[in-house]
Structures are given as structure tokens and as C-alpha cells.
């Protein structure tokens, strides 16, 4: 007996279940990322009390990067609001995201050149650690939204948009920790 005869879900039902499962997946991934950064934050809070903690000057380039990432969240919402122009706004989102990533790499190399992981400077180590781990999460956002662009299904942008905004919010959080604490 072939499997097609046994299928008991209509295609509509099937894709609704698939979308629900994707939402569950993204929700858990967000909770996990939040736990990861909570663990880093706790470590940061403990480590900064030691005598060798010397705050690294905050690269001003990062303010521009922050603005770019926030703007990309805006364009992504435009993509979801306007299905007709969804692909155009999605491309703009990815471009802004890439610009952010480029800026991050620039700031990174600058810091790394100054002796990235020298034992004597834990704040700089945290700086690089947090930006790098955040970058890894951004890669996930690129993959999800890039796949959405390839499939040109703007109505399926929900989970990818949720992750993109989350990565943006995570970055703002990282900036607050690194700059003000």
C-alpha cells in the first residue's frame, strides 16, 4: 500500500500544523538563547568584580551598527505588511543585516588587534565573546530569512521575523551590558 492513500490530513491542515510546529521551535530557541545570554551575563557580573577588570572603550561604530539592526527590523515588518512588495523589503532587511555584520567584523578586528584575548583584560574578552556569540545567532536569522526570500512566501515570515527581531533585541541587550556595566 502506498503512503499517499493513507494520508488523512488536507494540505491546508498540514501546512497549519507545520507553521504551528515552526512557531514552537522558534519560541524554544528564543528561550534557549535567552538562557545562554543569562549565563554569560551572570558570569560577566561575577568576573567584573575582580581587580583586573579594565573597561574597554566602547567603539563608536557599534552605535551605527545598532541603528542598522533596528532599521532592519522595521523593513522586515514592512515586508510582512505589504505582501506585494515583500521581496523588495526582505532584500532591504538582509542588506541592512549584512551591513550590521560587516560593521561588527570591523569593530571586532579593531579590538582583536589590540590584544583580543590577553589574559590581563577580561572585559575585552567578554566584549569579543558576547559579540561573537550574538553573531552566531545572527547567522541563524540570515538563514531563516534568506530561505524565506528564496521561497518567496511572505505569509510564512512569522517565525523568521520573530527570530530576526529577537536577535535585534538581544543585540540591544548586549550593548547595554557591555557599555553601561
Amino acid at each position: 500500500m502506498g503512503f499517499m492513500e493513507s494520508i488523512d490530513l488536507s494540505p491546508g491542515e498540514e501546512s497549519r500544523i507545520r507553521a504551528d510546529a515552526n512557531q514552537t521551535l522558534v519560541a524554544i530557541l528564543m528561550a534557549m538563547a535567552a538562557m545562554l545570554f543569562a549565563a554569560f551575563t551572570a558570569s560577566y557580573a561575577i568576573r567584573r568584580t575582580s581587580a583586573d577588570w579594565i573597561p574597554v572603550p566602547f567603539p563608536s561604530l557599534l552605535w551605527l551598527n545598532t541603528a542598522l539592526l533596528i532599521a532592519s527590523s522595521g523593513t522586515l515588518e514592512l515586508a510582512r505588511d505589504r505582501p506585494v512588495h515583500a521581496r523588495r523589503w526582505l532584500r532591504a532587511t538582509l542588506a541592512l543585516g549584512l551591513a550590521f555584520a560587516a560593521g561588527q567584523i570591523l569593530a571586532w578586528t579593531e579590538l582583536a588587534a589590540a590584544g583580543a584575548f590577553s589574559p590581563g583584560n577580561p572585559h575585552r574578552a567578554f566584549f569579543l565573546l558576547l559579540t561573537a556569540v550574538h553573531g552566531a545567532h545572527l547567522v541563524g536569522a540570515f538563514l531563516a530569512c534568506g530561505a524565506a526570500l528564496g521561497r518567496s512566501r511572505s505569509e510564512r515570515l512569522g517565525p523568521c521575523a520573530a527570530w530576526w527581531h529577537f536577535v535585534g533585541a538581544l543585540w540591544v541587550y548586549v550593548v547595554i551590558v557591555l557599555r553601561f556595566f
Binding site: 503512503f3 493513507s6 500544523i17 514552537t24 524554544i28 538562557m35 551572570a42 574578552a125
Partner: protein, 580 residues
């Protein structure tokens, strides 16, 4: 066969079509993947068990096992690591979870079959990596399964701190990635792929425990991930997150400064303690399902059990400090960790009472699965009592790192999880193979494993009370002399346990061919997996997937002709099951 759309094909199990390789090796079928996990865990279990036996020889007859004092910590470390992550986690959680969940929720497969396959093929290479560390310069990791720095952070600290620790970290990274993928699949499957009418409060308790345990694992593993990343940077990039100033190795003062090893301990136990519940809860869930089927009664207090599981999980995330009472923490903090730890006894006692009350006035069927489930109740009760002493900060100052602790955690994550795994394998074996395992051999295996194990780990408590410390190569202190005569006794018991696993292996590998053939529902059980033929085909149901019309445990209802009602049996003609 191609389906109309990719999504439809994936969810409906069409992937089953294909040759030997896609069917049995790179399979996306949750049942095949479950068996792959169990076989992997068995192989690793043999190594882990052999290590235990080897350690016991050294403890009983010091010097006769051919282990040097430098090697001994490696053996202890690897025994713990293999058993916790590569045996219990893989067999009970990844293995049985994969087999049970889609069948019990009435789904054709996991929500993400490809991710499921990837999860297995991620952890498989971790096994040879972990084992290879015995053969690298310096030998296997020796910093304990807890991998505390500075031993794990400084490559020259002890012989196992070099290559061995690097391989350990690499293998653990693969394990965490695999376990995460598996957990995501479990949660998405249980939340989103349930059959029509299968509301959360109609979910079998085994599924509930896998759900709670998966969420707990997913939320606590990131802390270990963070710790592992920082540990790697300390090892390889010269940072100093965990390494304090002034560590001297071979006369050389290390360049690291300012780090704190206690930070690692906090992060580790933030995972480490919940991990206990990640492993223990599914064993309890399996016990509930098995006991219901063989006592022919619904488990006592279904809702209380569900809520207790959730409370255990929540509390389990905020008690990690009780592993660190002797680390010099503020007494107020110690008091907090004591109080929340002892609070866990409340939901746990509720679960235990429900397990016992489920047996009240029941006519029990003494199948091997039932024996394991009953043994599990005993192990949870006895092991749990030890936890009450250890959770008390003042008492723990005395018990810490003694054999009292070793006995306690072997009761919980050794016996409870193993008993649950055996109960589950005996119970669901016919659904996978279409045949029953041999009952006589099963019972013999049960008695020859459970009784010596119980004696072994119970007596370890007594040794601990006399101050015998774990991870010691040899004991010469006067104060442990009164309990030293126990050492050879315990070693013999350990050998009996190890040897009796041969009975299980024979039963497991012979029964698929020689076992008595089982119908679709050999135990007259009620949950959805028993509505499909045995062995369950690819895609799980040959025709339509079932709907749930009632709770998971309708046994011995008054007025019914048979003493059970399948979950899929319609309530009345023409009535549709409620929403999914």
C-alpha cells in the same frame, strides 16, 4: 514515492520508501532512530560497566587492577561521563523517547524527521571520540564528569588535562548539539502533532514526562554551553574566566589571573542538577504507563502527577547550589538552597504516593516490565530519602564527596533510570518487533540485577557515613577501617550486576527472531500506540491515524464488557472528538 508537496511527504512518513540505507542506516523513521540510539547506548554501556568493574577491582584489592594512581581519576571521570550522557541520556531519553512519543500522540513521525536523523548522526561520532581519549598522550580526561577548572582549564595540570580533556569537550559539544535537536523535536511533536481529541490532559504520563524533561533540558543546557565556551577560551585562547591568579604547574606560575573556578561550578550545576530530572522524570512516566497496564487500573491522581512534574521541573532549576555547600558560600545562600531543595520532596512525594496508590487493591500481572516498574518505585523512595539528608546544608558538610553521595546518585540516576529503561524496553519491544521478549529470562535478569544493585548502592551509603571519600585511589585512614571489609563484597555485587546484563542482551537480540509473536495489543493496554499493528509500519498506522476520544488510562471501568477501553474507541456513534 513523491507526494504533492514537500511538507506533506515529510509529515506523512513517505520517507520510509527506499533502499536498505535510507531505511535502516540514514533513516528518518523515529522508531529506527530510537533503536539506533538504544544500540549505541548498549555499546557505550558495556564500556561504562567494564570501567565500573575495573574501578571496583582496584577498590577491593588495591594495586591488583593494574591502575596507577594517575589513571584512576580518568577511569572515574569516563565512567561517569559515559553512563550519564552516553548511556542513560541516549537509551532512556533519546532512544525510548523517540520510539514512544510519535506513537503515543498519534503522529506519523516526529515534527522534524530530518533534524531527528541529524541528531543521531551528530552524537554517534562523539562516541568514538570520547573512547579514543583513552589512547591519546596523557590518557582520558581526569577532571571528573563535572570537568571542574583549573584541572580542566590548564592543559598541563594533570596528564588527562591535555588531549584527553580536549577530546572530552569536543565529544560533549556534539552530545549537547544532538540532545538539543532531539529535545526540540520532542517538544514540537508533543505540542503540535497530537491526534485529534488528544488534549494535553489526555496525554499519557510517559509523554508528559518527556515533555517536561525536554523543556527542562533545553533551558538548562545553555548554561553548560556558556561554561564550555568560556572553558575552551581559557584552554586555547589564553583568557582567564575560570582560572585564578597564581596557579603553579611544574614550578611555573601560570599567566592566567583573576578568574574564579566557582563560577564554572555554578554554571555547571545549573545544568547538572536539572539534568538529574531530565533523566529521572521519563523513567517515572514509563513506570506510570507500565503500572497502569499491569495493575489494570488508572494511575492514581493523574492531574496531581502532571502538576507535580511541572513543579519538580521549576524547582529543579533553582536548587543547583546544593551541590556546592562546601564551596564556602554565604550561609544565607546555603539556607536558601537547602529550603528549595527540601521543597522538592513535596511534589516528589506526591508522585511517589501516586505510584504506590496506583497499586492499591489491584490484581498485578508480574511481567518483567512490571517488576522493573515496581523496583523503580523502591529505588526512587530509598534514593530520595538519601537526598533529604544531602539537601540539608549542615548535614551535607559531613556527607559531601563521600560514598554516601555516590550511593545516593547511583540510586537516582543509576537505578531509577536503568529500571525505567528496562521497563520501557520490555513493554514496547513487541510494538517494535512484533514479538515478546522472554518472560522467564526477563524475570531472572530483573532479580539478578536489581537485588545486587540495591545492596551495592545501599551499602555505599554506610561507607560514606564513616567518612569514606569518593575518587580516592586507596584507603588507609583509621576511621574507614570498620567499613573496609565491605569493599570486596561490593565488588562481587558489582560483578554480578555486570554479568547479569548478558541475560538481557541474549533476550534482546534473540527475541526479535525467536520470541512469541505479539498481536497489536499484547498487554491489553489503552494508549494510541496499541491501535496499530505490531511491528508498527513506517508512518506508524497503515491507514488513518487514530483520534483520541477519552483519557489515556480507561481500565476496569464499571459496566464495561472488557476491562479496558482503547483511547481511540469512540465515545458514542456520531460524536466527533473534540479539538486537537
Amino acid at each position: 514515492m513523491e507526494g504533492p508537496s514537500g511538507g506533506l511527504v515529510r509529515m506523512s512518513g513517505t520517507h520510509a520508501a527506499g533502499g536498505f540505507w535510507t531505511r535502516y542506516v540514514f533513516s528518518r523513521d523515529h522508531k529506527v532512530i530510537g533503536i539506533q540510539y538504544i544500540l549505541t547506548a548498549m555499546a557505550m554501556g558495556l564500556v561504562g560497566g567494564a570501567l565500573a568493574a575495573w574501578i571496583r577491582v582496584q577498590l577491593a584489592w588495591p594495586g591488583s587492577a593494574g591502575i596507577s594512581p594517575e589513571q584512576y581519576p580518568s577511569l572515574v571521570t569516563m565512567h561517569g561521563t559515559l553512563m550519564i550522557f552516553f548511556v542513560v541520556s541516549l537509551a532512556l531519553v533519546s532512544g525510548l523517547g523517540n520510539i514512544i512519543i510519535p506513537l503515543q500522540v498519534g503522529a506519523r513521525d516526529m515534527a522534524y524527521p530530518f533534524l531527528n536523523m541529524l541528531s543521531f548522526w551528530t552524537v554517534l561520532p562523539a562516541c568514538p571520540l570520547m573512547l579514543a581519549s583513552f589512547f591519546v598522550p596523557g590518557g582520558a580526561a581526569a577532571a571528573g564528569w563535572t570537568a571542574y577548572p583549573p584541572l580542566s582549564a590548564l592543559k598541563g595540570a594533570i596528564p588527562g588535562s591535555g588531549w584527553g580533556q580536549s577530546l572530552w569537550l569536543l565529544a560533549m559539544a556534539l552530545f549537547i548539539a544532538s540532545f538539543t535537536m532531539g529535545g526540540l523535536n520532542f517538544v514540537a511533536t508533543i505540542f503540535n502533532l497530537r491526534a485529534r481529541g488528544l488534549t494535553m490532559m489526555r496525554l499519557p504520563l510517559a509523554c508528559w514526562t518527556y515533555l517536561v524533561s525536554s523543556i527542562l533540558g533545553l533551558l538548562s543546557f545553555p548554561a553548560l554551553t556558556a561554561a564550555a565556551i568560556m572553558l575552551l577560551l581559557d584552554r586555547h585562547a589564553g583568557t582567564s574566566f575560570f582560572v585564578p591568579s597564581g596557579v603553579v604547574i611544574a614550578g611555573q606560575v601560570q599567566a592566567h589571573q583573576g578568574g574564579t573556578p566557582l563560577l564554572f561550578q555554578h554554571l555547571f550545576w545549573f545544568l547538572g542538577h536539572p539534568e538529574v530530572y531530565v533523566l529521572v522524570l521519563p523513567a517515572l512516566g514509563i513506570a506510570f504507563d507500565v503500572i497502569a497496564a499491569f495493575s489494570r487500573r488508572p494511575p492514581h491522581g493523574y492531574r496531581i502527577t502532571v502538576w507535580s512534574l511541572i513543579v519538580v521541573a521549576v524547582l529543579g532549576m533553582v536548587v543547583w547550589g546544593h551541590h556546592m555547600f562546601t564551596s564556602g558560600m554565604n550561609p544565607y545562600l546555603g539556607k536558601y538552597f537547602s529550603v528549595v531543595t527540601l521543597l522538592i520532596t513535596l511534589p516528589f512525594a506526591a508522585i511517589g504516593v501516586n505510584l504506590v496508590a496506583s497499586l492499591w487493591r489491584a490484581r498485578l500481572r508480574w511481567t518483567p516490565a512490571m517488576l522493573w516498574a515496581l523496583g523503580l518505585i523502591s529505588a526512587v523512595g530509598t534514593g530520595g530519602l538519601g537526598g533529604v539528608y544531602l539537601g540539608n546544608a549542615t548535614a551535607d558538610l559531613h556527607f559531601h564527596d563521600s560514598y554516601f553521595v555516590v550511593g545516593h546518585f547511583h540510586f537516582m540516576i543509576g537505578m531509577v533510570t536503568l529500571f525505567g529503561t528496562f521497563a520501557g524496553i520490555f513493554y514496547w519491544f513487541p510494538k517494535l518487533t512484533g514479538r515478546l521478549m522472554n518472560e522467564r529470562l526477563g524475570r531472572l535478569h530483573f532479580w539478578l540485577t536489581s537485588l545486587p544493585m540495591f545492596a551495592l548502592f545501599f551499602l555505599m551509603h554506610l561507607q560514606g557515613l564513616r567518612g569514606m571519600m569518593r575518587r580516592y585511589y586507596e584507603f588507609s585512614q583509621d576511621y574507614v577501617a570498620p567499613v573496609l571489609w565491605l569493599q570486596p563484597v561490593l565488588t562481587v555485587l558489582a560483578f554480578v550486576v555486570f554479568a547479569s546484563q548478558a541475560l538481557f542482551l541474549i533476550n534482546f537480540f534473540r527475541s526479535p527472531f525467536r520470541g512469541e509473536s505479539a498481536g497489536p495489543n499484547p498487554w491489553n493496554a489503552t494508549t494510541l500506540e496499541w491501535t496499530t499493528p505490531s511491528p508498527a509500519p513506517h508512518g506508524n498506522w497503515p491507514d488513518e491515524t487514530p483520534s483520541a476520544w477519552r483519557g489515556p488510562y480507561e481500565y476496569s471501568r464499571n459496566g464495561n464488557e472488557s476491562d479496558f477501553e482503547l483511547q481511540s474507541a469512540p465515545a458514542a456513534p456520531g460524536v466527533l472528538p473534540s479539538k486537537r
